[in-house]
Amino acid sequence: MSYKGHGGSEIVESIARGNAENRMGGLTRVAISRQTAHEVISIAYGFFTPLTGFMGQGDLSSVLDSMELENGILWSIPIVYTVSENFLKSSGIREDDSILLTYMDAPLAVLHVNEIFAFDKKTMAEKTFGTSNPKHPGVRRTLSYGDTFIGGKIELVNEPIFNYPFSEFWFTPREHFDIFRKKGWKHIVAHQTRNVPHGGHEALMKQAWFAANEDLPVDSIHTGVLVNAIMGEKRIGDYIDEAILLGQQALNDGGYFRSDVHMVSFTLWDMRYAGPREAIFHSILRANLGCTHHMFGRDHAGVGNFYGPYDAQNMLSRYRERLSVKPVFLMENWYCPVSGEVTSASVCGHSDVAQKFSGTLIRSILNDGVKPTKKIMRPEVFDSVMLSAEKYGHGSPFVTEEYLRNRQSIFTLKKQEDDSDGR
């Protein structure tokens, strides 16, 4: 079976199955952060194909300067592993070593250290985000990295076991391909989200379905929408992860999408809010899930006023020939009181009275726990979100300090046998 992802590359799968214990013996153990652990998992399962590990200096420079890897394949966002200089010295890690990366006190992966190097983080931030302003969350993140970069291949030695409800929505890239084949989908349009779906999102996904279906017949369906949620760093006020996944699935369960045209899954990734460059990255990510199309709305992956509302779409147009998915460009949807429907700014002629979907407004309604009208949010979605709030969010559908302190892990890792007795 062929699994061709971004740039026509075979989907990477770097997992030591069966002989994992042998791979770990005697290696220096290095505890890693949540972000790094998520990226290790994503690399190992092929979400970042053709990457097989953390970038070396050549790839990193090439990505920043030319928007491509050294091998010429389009790539936009640095994928790096960094440590402090002090840590490097005290650990004794050298090039050509293999080290065992651990997370939540359990082994996760072996990193074959190919290259250790220094890189100017300010330059890296400026080229990735188009600004060095520390108010940009991606710039802040980059500047907080360690000063020493370690590049090398990743080999997963301990596969994560996803906890409910994440277990219902976790599929590796190859599993995505297999599911799409089973469903008979020839065109798959990705919807990137970190949100509970409101009426505007639902309409966007439906518009994208029609665009992606192109000239395929409609008497038998061969086009699907993949809602691929991003699960990563949470900030106070974000929707809780569980509400996002279960809320999106509620659109399917409620019949607002036929079950044979809609599917929900997620990717472990910390949003960089890199606007145009992140849009390119999302197209790569979803090509690696087997998607043929990707919807991009207004201000895709932007933050504050750092990017213009259509900068991401313009960048995608510039690199159109090198993308492995076809972008579907959409304008915002609003509620038109004259038409009495949720509709697109592209076609509605009543912009003077349009009622825009505002996150603040919907947040206020949900905070009060008042079921919105069906045009704002489907009752099944609302019920699911409120249930998630009770079960997982300590009463709130939004991330609170309590949620950050006490939230359940997305996944667990099996401890090594010699770790279980406290060693």
Partner: protein, 100 residues
């Protein structure tokens, strides 16, 4: 500023029908896609009492002059008080304060 402060209560179809029964539905204002808002006005003294009871709430004196971020249950009780008193003024707020 006494008497001008307000608390906004979201009104969906269910709540609109309850308000209709007590003759208050016309006081709501459509905001978004059929979702309406009922403004309950309160005195400065009532604002102070509410802020003491709910320290996490915010009183926006600079723009909207409204009390925001009240817990959901408080809003629910205030809505019940509006129905009981058939008022959207300080009388409803007094009933609400008596009920907690």
């Amino acid at each position: 500023m006494e008497g001008n402060a307000r608390i906004n209560i979201w009104v969906n179809e269910d709540r609109l029908s309850q308000l209709d029964k007590v003759g208050l539905s016309s006081l709501t204002k459509e905001v978004f896609a059929g979702m309406r808002v009922l403004e309950v006005t309160l005195t400065r003294n009532q604002v102070d009492r509410i802020m003491k009871l709910y320290p996490s709430a915010k009183y926006d004196t600079s723009t909207t002059n409204s009390v925001e971020l009240l817990p959901r249950l408080a809003k629910d009780k205030l809505f019940d008080a509006v129905l009981e008193t058939r008022s959207t003024g300080p009388e409803a707020v007094n009933r609400f304060l008596q009920s907690i």
